[in-house]
């Protein structure tokens, strides 16, 4: 085969034709957008006045802004600290149950995944109704709580809704992980006289560790970015009790009477760095495990 430079050049060109549409779209609306965002975070601007370079002032403003450190950050951390463990543990238990000789497994799997299929807007609309003062939840529990308009209950209510909607997805990931564990391992353990809980402790959990890490990381990244449910259910209220980081960024950039897109960009970058760090920590853990 004569692989001439002419042929090689033609192959390169073909390859670039193949990736060109992706390269253009991704290049403009992801890469350029990211660079612009970094630039914006060092400027003062909104749509009416062009960006004006002011240096790292925005970062200082974000970190000192009470809405940021008093509401958005603690709310997001609380949200993550409750939702991530809850959805991870629940989905692991359900995946383990479904991995047994269960009748109608397909039915259960379908039902569990259903909440993950519908839009956050629809889920928000449904739960605003269910959790309203005269709604189904209060009727069933015999309570008279204004779940979404009470400073104490608003965030926990949104946490419950999110746990409800994401557990199914996490369960599917765990189930696939469980089914990847070779059954010979269990058989060998059974011959050695291991009990079921022992097998769970010494075979299932260690072999599932990478998947657990993955689900936890996915959960942290997702909860750090919660927005849709907040917007639909409470718009960050009452009294900023459900204002999370991403909701605050949105509010600063688009919702406020005096939009400050530079400050919003700076806050977005702080969040991106936090998410990057979480992802890297997870990678390190996994790499250490594999060695």
């Amino acid at each position: 085969m004569t692989y001439t430079w002419r042929r090689k050049l033609a192959d390169w060109l073909t390859a670039y034709v193949f990736i060109l549409p992706v390269l253009l779209g991704w290049g403009i609306f992801v890469v350029v957008a990211l660079v612009m965002s970094l630039y914006f975070s060092f400027t003062s601007f909104n749509l009416l006045k062009p960006p004006q370079w002011i240096g790292p002032v925005n970062y200082a403003r974000v970190l000192q802004h009470p809405d940021f450190f008093r509401y958005a950050v603690p709310n997001t951390l609380k949200y993550s600290a409750v939702v991530v463990p809850a959805q991870t543990v629940l989905s692991l238990i359900f995946a383990f149950a479904l991995d047994q000789k269960i009748r109608a497994r397909d039915f259960f799997r379908t039902a569990f995944y259903l909440p993950s299929v519908t839009s956050s807007v629809v889920i928000g609309i449904i739960f605003v109704w269910l959790f309203s003062p005269k709604g189904v939840i209060n009727q069933l529990l015999g309570l008279d709580v204004n779940w979404l308009y009470n400073v104490k209950t608003a965030l926990p209510t949104i946490m419950m809704v999110n746990i409800w909607s994401t557990t199914g997805t996490m369960m599917l990931i765990f189930l696939a992980g469980l089914q990847d564990i070779p059954s010979e391992l269990y058989e060998a353990a059974a011959i050695d006289g291991a009990s079921r809980p022992q097998m769970f402790r010494y075979i299932t959990i260690p072999l599932l560790r990478p998947v657990i890490f993955f689900v936890v990381t996915l959960g942290i990244i997702g909860t750090f970015q919660v927005f849709d449910q907040i917007y639909i259910m409470t718009k960050g209220g009452p009294l900023k009790a459900t204002t999370t980081i991403v909701y605050l960024i949105y509010f600063w950039a688009f919702g406020d009477v005096t939009p400050d897109m530079g400050r919003a960009s700076a806050a977005a970058f702080i969040l991106a760095v936090a998410i990057f760090v979480v992802t890297m920590v997870q990678r390190r853990f996994l790499e250490r495990e594999e060695v």
Binding site: G25, I173, A176, A268
Partner: protein, 290 residues
């Protein structure tokens, strides 16, 4: 050692006797919890608007189609939202799947300068939170490309933002299918294009379908980008329109519930038809993501 034995045996049998009933109870409880909100929504969307806070029931009584009639006829924009949603989701799905497959194939099989770097960059960009690009996307749409508040603008921006995962998934898929067929066609003198359209795409059907379903779900349900990109009610998609509904027509919530069915039903139907691909896709990306 022998003394410990009986305890272990006893523990085992107790656990074995109890575990299945416990598992079934757990699974059934969560199933009820997962389905009930949807079922109640359907039931109450078929009941008069005055009955919205009636005690929960499992069957609509009194039954009425009034809410659906109102949603479809009294709000001029509602049919437009439905149309926009379908156009947006279909176009976004087709564009994302086709171009991701094209690029994924190049990354998996072709040699060209910059391949490794580009692929790593595309992969790495999946870590960038969407909210970081929100302000620039708005800015570009308004100031640079004049695609703000247009459906095709939304299609382009959404598709572009979703390429990274599509390319990642398709590249992984193409890497793991055997080269035999392609090599045979290559020796017969087929060009890269013939190879791709005639040999590779038909082979890739399961992966294409899985990506298509994710894409449809993602664009059909999208809220944040649509919220940033759209301004006029006649250009809204269903999620954005429903969000507006929820705040404006709080007093006639039965209508809002009926409207929400139009957003959830199509995706639920698609889910039931292509369930296998949903499940496999999640398992695949979930595990390979590790």
């Amino acid at each position: 050692m022998t003394t410990a034995r009986p305890t272990v045996v006893w523990e085992r049998s107790l656990w074995d006797r109890l575990k299945m009933p416990i598992f079934y109870a757990l699974l059934i409880a969560w199933t009820v919890l997962a389905i009930m909100p949807y079922w109640l929504t359907i039931v109450f969307s078929f009941m008069p608007k005055t009955a919205i806070f009636d005690p929960p029931r499992l069957w609509p009584k009194p039954f009425t189609l009034e809410n659906y009639r109102v949603v479809l006829t009294a709000f001029d924009e509602f049919p437009l939202w439905l149309r926009n949603s379908f156009l947006f989701a279909l176009a976004a799905t087709v564009l994302r799947v086709f171009f991701s497959a094209l690029a994924g194939y190049a990354f998996a099989r072709m040699r060209f300068p910059g391949r490794g770097v580009l692929f790593s960059l595309i992969l790495g960009s999946m870590m960038v939170p969407f909210v970081v690009t929100v302000v620039p996307l708005y800015w570009m749409a308004v100031k640079w490309f004049h695609i703000y508040d247009t459906l095709w603008g939304l299609i382009i921006v959404w598709t572009s933002g979703s390429f990274s995962f599509g390319v990642f998934m398709m590249t992984q898929f193409f890497k793991q299918i055997p080269r035999d067929l392609e090599e045979a066609a290559f020796i017969d003198g087929a060009s890269w294009f013939t190879l791709f359209f005639r040999v590779v795409l038909p082979l890739a059907r399961p992966a294409l379908l899985a990506l298509a379903i994710f894409s449809f779900q993602g664009s059909w349900n999208d809220f944040f980008l649509t919220l940033i990109m759209m301004q006029s009610p006649e250009n809204f998609t269903l999620p954005l329109g429903l969000a507006m509904f929820r705040f404006q027509y709080y007093a006639i919530y039965s209508n809002v519930l009926a409207g929400s069915i139009f957003n959830s039903l199509p995706i639920i139907i698609i889910f039931f038809i292509f369930q296998r691909y949903f499940v496999e896709g999640i398992a695949y990306t979930g595990l390979k993501g590790v």
